[in-house]
């Protein structure tokens, strides 16, 4: 099968959906001729014109609000938010308007909108261009959150998001844009709320999101060489969250580490770990361990930045101790 980059996968998904449905338009900063700083949307303006690939001023709340209003009135906007960190600029339009409109109107108004943005540290971009803020979005009822872990998911989840009648926020890991994966030609839709068992195992479950799926897979390889069989699960969407697949795995392995690049406290790892504890407690042989980004603003210096995010080696070290029955994260 052909291999394409995550960036190309996103571009293909947008182009295919825009060909299918005239009501879809793309809006954001430098999405047209510039194709975004990551060159993800290159070529789209040539095919669809400036009427459907709309460059905006640097005014995130403004174009987000415009997208919400357009979505309420027959359009299906795809909003490009250049960096995930800018989500703080659009919080009112995303959380007070888009997320609540369907509910507040008693189901009369819909906001079929996709917000594409990114996440991920270790790009030497420092504290305001490196955050992974999906937990903040997932906290707000009315918003769906997808986290593609490869080019395949990037395409399949985005196409599903575009056809969803709810506001969906997709977080792409900006360090993965050039990573290649096998992606079939033609139609590809990955349903929301269906986790993917990336690797089967029997001793410990590693739940990872986005690039942390790769971290978990690398850790699983190292652990396999030591005779520890790790199962790797990629939830693919965190809202909705497929707890059935996670619970089934944990009930089989009896141990679990949840790995995510958001800050560890009050984050995705905490939420998934809590649900496992509530739903599979009597199947566990050890505490469910959270591994998130350190609770510090992302530092610039490479010597410091690399310490802040989970690594395969870090996951392996925790897994070994968990298998040995040691207590972890006790402070």
């Amino acid at each position: 099968m052909r291999e394409i980059t995550l960036s190309t996968a996103v571009n293909e998904a947008i182009a295919e959906e825009m060909r299918r449905d005239e009501t879809i338009f793309l809006i954001g900063e430098d999405v047209a001729e510039a194709g975004t700083p990551f060159k993800i949307t290159s070529g789209l303006v040539e095919e669809f014109g400036t009427d459907r690939v709309i460059d905006t001023p640097i005014a995130e709340p403004g174009f987000m609000g415009i997208a919400v209003g357009a979505a309420m009135t027959g359009s299906r906007p795809i909003v490009d938010l250049m960096f995930g960190d800018f989500i703080f600029l659009i919080m009112d339009q995303l959380c007070n308007q888009a997320a609540k409109t369907h509910y507040m109107s008693g189901g009369k108004l819909n906001v079929p909108l996709v917000l594409r943005t990114n996440m991920g540290a270790t790009r030497r971009s420092a504290a305001q261009h490196s955050q992974s803020l999906h937990a903040i979005v997932a906290h707000i009822p009315g918003l769906k959150v997808a986290m593609p872990s490869s080019a395949l998911e990037a395409k399949g989840l985005l196409k599903t998001a575009i056809r969803d009648n709810n506001p969906v926020v997709i977080f792409e890991d900006k360090l993965m844009y050039q990573d290649k994966a096998e992606v079939p030609e033609g139609e590809l839709l990955i349903p929301f709320g269906v986790a993917n068992v990336k690797r089967e195992g029997s001793d410990i479950t590693l739940v990872g999101t986005s690039s942390m799926v790769q971290v978990a897979e690398k850790a699983a390889e190292i652990l396999a060489a030591e005779g520890i069989s790790a199962e790797v699960i990629d939830p693919r969407t965190i809202v909705p969250l497929d707890m059935d697949t996670i619970n089934n795995s944990v009930r089989k392995t009896s141990r679990c580490i949840v790995i995510d690049e958001g800050h560890q406290s009050f984050g995705i790892t905490s939420e998934i770990a809590s649900r496992i504890m509530e739903q599979s407690f009597y199947h566990l042989d050890g505490p469910v361990i959270r591994m998130g980004a350190m609770d510090v603003p992302i530092p610039f210096s490479p010597a410091l930045e690399d310490i802040t995010v989970p690594t395969p080696e870090g996951v392996v070290a925790v897994a070994r101790r968990l298998m040995a029955g040691e207590m972890i994260n006790v402070s």
Partner: protein, 291 residues
């Protein structure tokens, strides 16, 4: 009535003058002080009062209430409890209309207080760049919540729109004919692709910021309120014009008033007796069920 209520009384000529110039397919966005917009855009009293009382038959099945009432069947995209929060929505609605080849116009109602929000300038910039069919209608009632507007607004409000190349107008918001005359012209021009436009409507809210804002002499004198009631009331003054012109008699006007009051009373009585939503509705409509 449960919760917060912000009365529209005193500003009627603004909503009526503008909405009378709109078709049912035209859109509006409304504000926390939005009862007048809702009625003027065609809402039914019964469904409206049911919503204000949180009843199942309300426009939003009781989930929105006074500050979020929406009536999409008449093009009301909803009141908004974030001051200035709907300016993006209105502008986006205009973008939809233009892109999808519809001729509808969107009117964004907001107060003078909202002119202090940054979002307004971001979306006016884009509306002007993209010549969108939107009319920004600033209801300047002189008070930004509990503060005189001249204490929070520097310079001229219309000049701010003009800075983006948007044609801006100032009109007496108590004169329904003047408001309607201007609105008709601007709506027609919007349909021809000449938008966006900006209107500052000088008006007055009879009540406080909300119904509980009773002791308000620290920011507004009773004499001033009395003067507006006596000399600038939009309904009385329009009535006087109708009788002066011989278009109506005092008896006709009184009959109309009595009829509206009776309709409202019937709707209120109906809403008071109406059912609350079933508890099973609490987690309904968080998401659209996509088949």
């Amino acid at each position: 009535m449960p919760g917060l209520t912000h009365m529209y009384s005193g500003e009627e000529a603004v909503a009526v003058g503008i909405c009378e110039a709109l078709k049912v397919t035209d859109k509006i966005t409304s504000t926390h002080r939005g009862h007048g917009h809702c009625v003027a855009k065609g809402a039914d009293f019964k469904q409206m009062f049911c919503e204000l009382l949180g009843k199942e038959e309300g426009y939003c099945r009781g989930k929105g209430g006074s500050m979020h009432i929406a009536d999409q069947s008449n093009g009301n995209l909803g009141a908004n409890a974030i001051v200035g929060g709907s300016m993006g929505i209105a502008t986006g609605s205009a973008l939809s209309a233009k892109r999808l080849g519809r001729d509808d116009v969107t009117v964004c109602f907001f107060g003078d207080g909202a002119t202090a929000q940054g979002l307004m300038y971001e979306v006016m910039n884009m509306a002007a760049l993209w010549t969108l069919p939107v009319i920004y209608a600033c209801e300047n009632n002189g008070y930004s919540e509990y503060t005189r507007t001249d204490e929070i607004a520097a310079g001229s409000i219309t000049a701010r729109a003009e800075a983006f190349g948007i044609e801006a107008f100032k009109v007496d918001g108590q004169d329904v004919l003047a408001v309607n005359d201007l609105a008709q012209k601007l709506v027609a021009r919007c349909r021809k692709g000449e938008g966006p436009f900006f209107i500052e409507l000088e008006t007055y809210r009879y009540h406080g910021h909300h119904v509980g804002d009773i002791n308000r002499e620290y920011y507004r004198a009773k004499d001033e309120e009395k003067q507006w009631h006596e000399t600038r009331d939009p309904i009385k003054n329009f009535g006087k014009w109708l009788t002066d012109e011989g278009l109506s008699t005092q008896e006709d006007l009184e009959a109309i008033q009595a009829e509206i009051k009776a309709d409202a009373a019937t709707a209120v009585a109906y809403a008071l007796e109406a059912k609350y939503p079933d508890a099973t509705e609490v987690d309904m409509h968080v998401f659209v069920e996509t088949a």
